[in-house]
């Protein structure tokens, strides 16, 4: 505090002022931290994988594709002549859902003409990353996908 252009001794009031300010800021931070953690979406994390059935193997033609939701994620499952393949159905470009072209035996995205092979690799168009590939197994006539 300056008086007549010279610094004067801090008073008890100045001290109380600062104590209140510091306490208010510290309390605000202590309250805001948990609130921000609260607002962060709850997502299942950790090594536990989700494995869900996506259909019966019988009645599933070769080179036929089906879409399913596994663990909340859209998945594209294709029966090939060598077995089943499961890929993420979400295009890595801007998030549109992809389709399977049974004639070309490729996965394509209708939004911006992206194309992927059945290993998820980008074969055309703007996607920056390949499609994630998921584990798939056939047990007692049922097809399971793990994400």
């Amino acid at each position: 505090m300056t008086v007549g252009g010279q610094e004067s001794e801090p008073t008890r009031r100045t001290l109380i002022d600062w104590v209140i300010r510091v306490c208010t800021v510290v309390t605000g931070i202590a309250l805001a931290g948990p609130a921000l953690a609260y607002l962060w979406p709850v997502t299942k994390a950790g090594p536990v994988k989700t494995r869900e059935p996506v259909g019966d193997a019988g009645g599933w033609d070769v080179w036929q594709a089906r879409k399913a939701s596994v663990g909340g994620r859209p998945v594209l499952v294709v029966r090939t002549d060598k077995g089943f393949v499961a890929l993420s159905a979400v295009c890595t470009h801007l998030g549109c859902l992809v389709e399977f072209d049974a004639v070309a035996r490729k996965v394509h995205c209708p939004c911006h003409a992206a194309s992927f092979d059945l290993q998820g690799r980008v074969t055309g168009g703007p996607p920056p990353r390949p499609l994630p590939v998921y584990g798939v197994s056939e047990v007692q006539g049922k097809v399971y996908v793990s994400v």
Partner: protein, 396 residues
């Protein structure tokens, strides 16, 4: 950090007429409060703090709460069990409701006993009484939202009482319920009231209340018309002295709320079942005195008479500054008003206690009592059966 704010203020002052605004806040901060201002004068700001806390925790809960009968209870379970610190915010909100009602009541009591409602502050009292009514309405509407057994049936009882109001009762009940019984429409209406209508109404009323209070300053204990202006050096500066007091109390209360949230959490309860009424359903503590009082009015016109009688304190509450026109403010110089205030508090405590004890079984000094619906204890005898079991029977 504070240099930045000064620079920002200078930026604004160069462009906008900031002087009147800054002078107003500076004047309010440095204003001197009457010399008798004490720790009893913190309840007003504590009520405001409680309201702000309820708004913040309420908005957080709104992110995950789902206001439908199918999802409401599950969303509370999700908040409590899955969301990080969800349990904490839910508990602070639940305990905060009790705390807010308590501080508003204590603030009203302080104002009443110090005669601060007298001329020229009658409208400040009336807005305060309205704030009190809104606060308990908050409690009533919020209580249904968890959609557990207690919520459902306490609301059924509360709206049932409303239906007995003379003349408009059935209409009022139907409007509140959105139908004939507590259901999805009731939840929707109570939710709308609780999260939009009541918060805005209370915020507006609180702003008016604060403005009126700040314009006239705190009342002294001098009689009406004989207020002596106190020399500035005798008054207590609002900033930082009184704010420091309020800050201390606020921090302590915040700590108490968090402690209660950890050590004495509210149950989630069982999901509401319209086909199963639990035994001895009772409202929350702030409705217990009225709830218990109504039980004593029996017979054909009993319910209506009970509602009229229980409405009298609320009418008196609003009209009191216009009924009590004596000039004295000091409680010792107003024996009639002070006595009536004390009687009102004692009656509320007695009926509240009777309501709490009614329809319950308690043991005192080795003797078990069953309290009936009027709160009258009846001793019961506990008999030990062959095989170790126990059987109780009334000794009346």
């Amino acid at each position: 950090m504070f240099g930045l704010s000064k620079r920002f203020l200078r930026f604004l002052a160069d462009r906008y007429p900031m002087r009147p605004v800054l002078d107003f806040f500076d004047h309010q901060a440095r204003k001197r409060l009457p010399p008798h201002t004490s720790w009893l004068h913190v309840f007003g700001s504590l009520s405001l703090l409680a309201f702000i806390s309820q708004v913040i925790t309420g908005v957080l809960l709104l992110v995950y709460y789902r206001p439908t009968p199918q999802e409401a209870h599950k969303s509370i379970q999700y908040i409590t069990g899955d969301v990080r610190f969800g349990w904490l915010y839910r508990q602070i909100h639940a305990w905060g409701a009790t705390f807010m009602i308590l501080t508003v009541v204590l603030h009203m009591m302080r104002t009443f006993f110090m005669g601060a409602y007298k001329k020229p502050r009658e409208l400040t009292w009336v807005t305060g009484a309205l704030i009190f009514v809104l606060t308990i309405t908050f409690g009533f509407t919020g209580y249904l939202l968890p959609w557990n057994q207690l919520s459902y049936w306490a609301t059924t009882v509360g709206t049932g009482i409303a239906s007995a109001v003379p003349g408009i009762g059935p209409w009022l009940s139907k409007l509140m319920l959105g139908g004939d019984t507590v259901g999805a429409e009731t939840l929707s209406r109570f939710f709308t009231l609780h999260v939009i209508i009541l918060p805005w109404a209370l915020a507006l009323l609180a702003a008016v209340h604060l403005l009126l209070m700040r314009t006239q300053n705190l009342a002294t204990l001098d009689p009406v018309g004989q207020e002596r202006p106190y020399p500035p050096e005798c008054g207590i500066p609002f900033w930082p002295v009184h704010v420091a007091k309020e800050g201390c109390v606020a921090l302590v209360v915040l700590g108490v709320l968090v402690t209660l949230s950890v050590l004495s959490p509210w149950d989630i309860g069982e999901p509401a079942d319209p086909l199963k009424t639990p035994e001895a359903v009772k409202p929350e503590w702030y409705f217990l005195p009225t709830y218990q009082l109504l039980k004593y009015f029996v017979g054909p016109g009993g319910k209506v008479l009970g509602i009229l009688v229980s409405g009298v304190p609320f009418v008196l509450l609003f009209l009191w500054p216009f009924l009590d026109r004596t000039p004295a403010r000091h409680p010792k110089q107003r024996p009639v008003a002070t006595t009536m205030g004390v009687i009102a508090i004692v009656l509320a405590l007695v009926f509240g206690l009777l309501g709490h004890l009614s329809e319950s079984r308690r043991s005192f000094f080795g003797q078990t009592y069953q309290f009936d619906i009027y709160g009258v204890p009846h001793p019961v005898e506990t008999e030990v059966l062959p095989g170790g079991g126990k059987q109780t029977k009334s000794m009346d």
